[in-house]
Symmetry: C2
Subunit: 203 residues, 2 copies
């Protein structure tokens, strides 16, 4: 994007403000996904006009925030070693993911209304593929159930994470409990059901 070149040329305070905006938008929208540009500006500690100086429309702002956020998330998840035992890898992925998803819940809701679900999915896709890839490997190795599509199991993975996020926000689930409940439930989802032909042992 043009961003790289711009950043170098811009004055220090402008760069600082841009960062503050991106940051403030996330925290602001996670509290209230319908927050106005005025509220976002206030959350970022700057004037509304200055906000428009950096992003000429709400849409442009959302787009930038989503992109940066996805980039950050990717940076946290990419270095994970998801090789080895699929169960352990899945656990690792969950532990690294659920706080991110919790934090991003509001942002996604806001972005979905403004950018459309498809636009989100574009950004979401890498994370999605990572999860599905792992699940498919687990299925191939016989560690995960194969009687359901990887697509469905992946959807369940995200459904549980989002559900947990909601429970936490509603105060019905503590961070501590979430950390054990989520992995345990997802393991149950991917496991080969009791009655099936269990063909453990690497394929």
């Amino acid at each position: 994007m043009t961003t790289d070149l711009d950043d170098r040329n811009r004055r220090a305070d402008a760069q600082r403000n841009r960062a503050a905006i991106l940051d403030g938008t996330v925290t602001c929208l996670s509290v209230n996904p319908r927050a106005s540009m005025a509220e976002i500006a206030q959350a970022a500690g700057i004037g509304r006009v200055t906000l428009y100086g950096h992003f000429s429309s709400r849409r442009e702002l959302l787009e930038a925030v989503v992109e940066q956020t996805m980039h950050e998330a990717e940076a946290q998840l990419a270095p994970l070693d998801l090789g080895g035992d699929p169960r352990a890898a899945l656990d690792l992925l969950i532990r690294s993911s659920w706080r991110i998803i919790d934090k991003l819940h509001g942002l996604m809701a806001a972005a979905e209304q403004e950018l459309g679900a498809d636009r989100i999915r574009d950004h979401h896709d890498r994370t999605l593929h990572r999860v599905r890839g792992l699940i498919e490997r687990g299925q191939a190795e016989g560690a995960f159930r194969s009687d359901q599509s990887s697509s469905w199991i992946t959807a369940c993975f995200f459904a549980i994470l989002h559900g947990a996020s909601g429970e936490i926000r509603a105060g019905r689930l503590s961070d501590r409990d979430a950390a054990t409940a989520i992995p345990s439930t997802i393991q149950a989802i991917v496991s080969v059901p009791a009655g099936d032909a269990v063909d453990v042992g690497k394929a």
Copy 2:
């Protein structure tokens, strides 16, 4: 409410229109949760002013629609016999629930923004208690896992149902597949995990 008395006294066409409004609102909001009063009126096949004649504010309309919808849902779920084997009862409950939840997805989204999540939960509570009650019975009888709180398992139940609803709407899951995948996955969630002390046999 005053509704009961009013309905008798009102003219036939007014009653017809009121029903059309309630009906149109659901279908309209399930397509677009942010639909305006004008769009809702159009969907109901009446003029915008007439809409305001029946419901003096958007909030009042939403309230009425949510109440009626919940009432209908309750009417479908209340007669179910959830006694006997908890697993079978859960399956029955799922089969009766998931289409309802799918249909109501948009309505809930709209209502949540307008009425606040708490207001929704008030209406949602009966359904929620029904599910949790069943889960707790299953836990007491040893049919369901007891190492996780009934509150969490209930949340997972709804998370899966909502997730499935999203997958269907996105075209990644067919109605047919959903009908088998959902029960199967929820059974996996409630089941006692393999490593545990399995104390089957009615308590």
